[in-house]
């Protein structure tokens, strides 16, 4: 894996920070909730004690009337339409006035008026309007209402669904509104009692005539049952105690709601826009989502199970939370009811601007860090790559030039040290190569003297006059010393040539003519191989003709060594925009891949060793000289395999020696 990828992978470990932050937020959130719950519990406690005090002073505020009819105040408005979808008390919590449940009653205060929902199971229909005389013998409900004015008796009966028809049977007049609805089981009556006189007690009886002549079934009884409703004073007391933006409810011991005061503030806990995202991410999934169940009901359930202080519930589609707490009201060691406090709260308590800003800032810092790290890694890998390229370039140059173009880094860090070490290494290589090269020259120089001694002595020996056998030995010795001399000369040739090349003086001459002239000499040398020459008629060139000839000699010599007898050698001179290109191609074995650059290095030889080739050792200097000559003429030397695979071509790109200024 590349360095940058590694570092980014490492940097991704920093993502643990936001994860930890998330946990922190959750933890803080939980703590804050506990705090809010505790605060609410405290408020509840205070309120409950206050209420208990009020109740102790006036027990009549919360009468003990378990057998009464409960009539909770509900917040939702009840429409008189005969349907109970606007009733908060569910149908299964209705008061059953007879053992089989044929007659069920629900009562509730809505908008300060008492509403009644009477459900009668009566599938045998025998209906008549309440005012008609037949009503005495048809299905009907007889309602007794006791107010401060007295007891009113009413007959409620409809022949068909619609507005309720009422027939007074006695007592102070009472006007009410109602609706009669039928369904498969029976019929329902929804009615509203006037607010003028508060209702004290109710009596309800449903009469079911199955068939004429058959005695009627009576459900319920006309005995009055007191209405359990909260005393206005209690309501006022509760209203006074209820803190603003809270809902306060008084529940009866069985969980039915008696009083509800207050309202949640619409803007409490509202969060806007993107903070909702946080809510979704960070909110507690344990919050209850059941919108149907009121908090009171949930708490009511808990009332049976045991003390439970708080429930959290999502409202408003999950954007807000409602915190509900419950506190039992005791009097004389018995629970007379419980107090419920509800408040709206933000789903995420931490959606407080400042804290969120801190979190965002830390996220931004993390991103910045990651970005910086990435940049740094990029720069680091760039530096390393550059160093590597430089080193490779230096190696490609090879030998004594290796250290030439290498730029050492100045920085003080480890990479800088590495770069400087490289530079030192390349210097060593260059120095060593230099030493090796000069070794040959030095040896050559050193060997001259003893060689001169040997040859001089042999000359003198010959002049002494020798017998036949002796002269044979003399001849052998002389040949040996000749070969030695050739070797010594070859060893020193390199530096000699380099000196000659460096000191060569340019002149203007015809390169094409020179090539043709040389070619004639080569033709004989190369035979029986074929030699073809392609060159323009004439070509003016500024350079050192002797050096060009030397280079050509070396190339031809090289071609001759590798081209078989039936092969062909091609000499070609082209003129191009960049200069002149001189090509020497020969058929024969191809170059090994990747070796073409190295061929021009001194002391590199591709020839097979053997005495057959020449008396002098093949030190591989020929192509080195070719390259030096090319470079002296502001050009380059290259070797490549021929495209058709038949052989090898050496090409010299020459621009001409620089003219002296002035």
């Amino acid at each position: 894996m590349r360095l940058r990828a590694k570092l980014v992978l490492l940097a991704s470990a920093a993502l643990a920070l936001p994860a930890v932050g998330l946990l922190l937020v959750r933890e803080l959130e939980a703590q804050l909730r506990r705090g809010q719950e505790a605060q609410q519990a405290a408020t509840l406690g205070v309120m409950a004690r206050a209420l208990e005090g009020a109740l102790r002073r006036d027990p009549g505020l919360l009468p003990l009337a378990p057998a009464g009819i409960g009539a909770p105040t509900q917040a939702a408005v009840i429409r008189i339409d005969g349907f109970d979808d606007d009733w908060e008390t569910p149908s299964d919590r209705a008061l059953a006035l007879d053992p089989e449940g044929h007659l069920r009653l629900r009562a509730a205060f809505s908008e300060d008026a008492l509403h009644l929902m009477i459900e009668v199971a009566d599938s045998s229909r025998l209906r008549a309007e309440a005012g008609q005389p037949e009503a005495q013998y048809t299905d009907r409900v007889e309602l007794d209402i006791e107010t401060a004015a007295g007891r009113t008796r009413l007959r409620l009966a409809n022949s068909a669904p619609g507005a309720l028809s009422v027939h007074p049977l006695g007592g102070p007049p009472l006007r009410l509104m109602g609706e009669w609805q039928e369904d498969a089981r029976g019929y329902r009556i929804e009615l509203r009692l006037p607010t003028a006189e508060p209702v004290l007690a109710l009596g309800l009886q449903a009469v079911d005539h199955a068939r004429p002549g058959v005695p009627a079934q009576r459900y319920g009884s006309t005995a009055l049952r007191p209405l359990r409703s909260a005393a206005p004073a209690l309501v006022e007391a509760l209203r006074a105690l209820c803190p603003p933006r809270h809902v306060c409810e008084l529940l009866e011991p069985d969980g039915a709601r008696l009083i509800a005061v207050g309202a949640l503030a619409a803007d409490d806990g509202q969060v806007s826009g993107w903070r909702r995202l946080f809510t979704a991410v960070l909110g507690d999934s344990r919050d209850e989502h059941d919108a149907q169940q009121t908090a009171a009901d949930a708490l009511g359930e808990a009332a049976v199970d045991g003390p439970d202080s708080a429930r959290w519930r999502r409202i408003d589609g999950g954007n807000r939370l409602e915190l509900a707490g419950r506190e039992p009201l005791r009097m004389n060691d018995e629970i007379r009811g419980s107090l419920v406090l509800r408040q709206a709260s933000a789903a995420l308590l931490l959606a407080d601007r400042a804290l969120l800003r801190v979190l965002l800032a830390s996220l931004a810092v993390i991103l910045l860090l990651a970005g910086l790290l990435y940049l740094f890694a990029g720069r680091l890998s760039l530096r390393i790559r550059r160093l590597s390229e430089q080193a490779e370039a230096a190696l490609a140059r090879g030998g004594a030039d290796a250290a030439r173009g290498f730029v050492r880094s100045q920085s003080t860090d480890e990479l800088g040290e590495l770069s400087r070490s490289f530079g030192t290494l390349l210097d060593e290589v260059a120095g060593y190569t230099d030493y090796l090269r000069s070794l040959a020259a030095t040896l050559s120089h050193e060997l001259h003297t003893p060689l001169a001694v040997v040859r001089g002595s042999l000359d003198n020996l010959e002049a002494q006059g020798l017998t036949a056998p002796s002269s044979v030995y003399l001849e052998r010795a002389r040949q040996g010393s000749e070969r030695l001399a050739a070797i010594v000369r070859a060893m020193g040739e390199s530096s000699r040539i380099e000196r000659a090349i460096a000191s060569a003086e340019p002149e203007d001459f015809d390169l094409a003519a020179l090539l043709r002239g040389c070619a004639e000499g080569y033709r004989e040398l190369l035979s029986p191989r074929r030699l073809t020459v392609t060159a323009p008629q004439s070509l003016g060139f500024h350079g050192a003709p002797d050096l060009i000839v030397q280079a050509l000699d070396k190339l031809i010599d090289n071609a001759r060594g590798f081209c078989p007898a039936e092969g062909e050698v091609r000499l070609q001179l082209d003129v191009g925009p960049g200069g002149v290109t001189l090509r020497v191609a020969n058929t024969g074995p191809q170059l090994a891949a990747g070796r073409s650059e190295r061929l021009f290095d001194p002391l590199v030889s591709q020839r097979p060793r053997g005495a057959a080739h020449s008396a002098a050792p093949h030190l591989g200097l020929g192509l080195h000289i070719v390259r030096l000559v090319a470079e002296r003429h502001a050009g380059s030397a290259r070797a490549a395999n021929l495209e058709d695979g038949s052989g090898v071509e050496f090409s010299l790109a020459l621009r001409g020696m620089p003219r002296p200024r002035g």
Partner: protein, 229 residues
């Protein structure tokens, strides 16, 4: 009376070889291992010919200084320089020390003796004014064989023995191409072709020093050189 030759060479084996070879030719030869010895001897008596090894011991300039001293004392004394490296010849000749030839120690003893003989012959020819002189004239060139003297347009061209023989080889057959091998043989040197090239270069330079328009020597690339016909 036989001629005396002084050889100043610090390598004893080489010196002794030279001494023996030249003695065989009937010369009186003295060998000196250092400049000091030689100078002391020369103070008493000058030899007829001096062969100096340029790289004398630990004094790189030793040979040159000796040559200068001799020249001031005897301007016409033949002096031969020997050097271990061919490349030095270019450098040395550039110093214009007035030596009669610059040779590498690679040369064989017969070649050395040939030069010595030629130099002595020249001295004799110079001393005998009206003797029959073999002269080669070609345009501006006037080559006197015995005296080993060359003039161009009347001006004397200071050539070494080797260079003289090269010019003679070329001018003798103007228009004929002489290969480097042939020139080597004529000049009694055994060197590589690059040295012949530098000899030719030096020859040209010396002529051009007198006459910048000198252009008699043609380079026939791949073949050799020739004197313009």
């Amino acid at each position: 009376m036989s001629r005396t030759i002084a050889i100043v060479e610090d390598e004893p084996a080489i010196r002794d070889n030279y001494v023996d070879a030249l003695k065989r030719y009937g010369y009186q030869v003295h060998g000196f291992g250092s400049r000091r010895e030689a100078r002391a001897a020369f103070a008493l008596r000058l030899p007829d010919l001096v062969i100096i090894d340029v790289g004398l011991g630990d004094e790189p300039e030793g040979g040159f200084d000796l040559c200068r001293e001799l020249r001031t004392r005897a301007p016409t004394l033949p002096i031969l320089f020997l050097t271990a490296r061919d490349a030095d010849i270019d450098v040395i000749s550039g110093l214009r020390l007035g030596a009669d030839d610059y040779l590498s120690k690679d040369l064989s003893l017969p070649q050395l003796t040939a030069r010595v003989t030629a130099l002595f012959r020249r001295i004799d020819a110079l001393r005998a004014p009206a003797a029959r002189e073999t002269v080669l004239s070609l345009r501006g060139l006037r080559l006197e064989l015995e005296r080993m003297h060359v003039t161009w347009n009347g001006e004397s061209v200071p050539l070494t023995v080797t260079e003289f023989w090269i010019v003679h080889a070329l001018a003798r057959h103007p228009g004929h191409v002489r290969s480097r091998e042939q020139l080597m043989r004529e000049a009694e040197v055994v060197v590589d072709e690059a040295t012949i090239t530098s000899h030719i270069k030096r020859v040209r330079k010396k002529f051009e020093a007198i006459d910048p328009s000198f252009d008699e020597v043609d380079t026939v690339h791949g073949a050799g050189y020739r004197w313009r016909p």
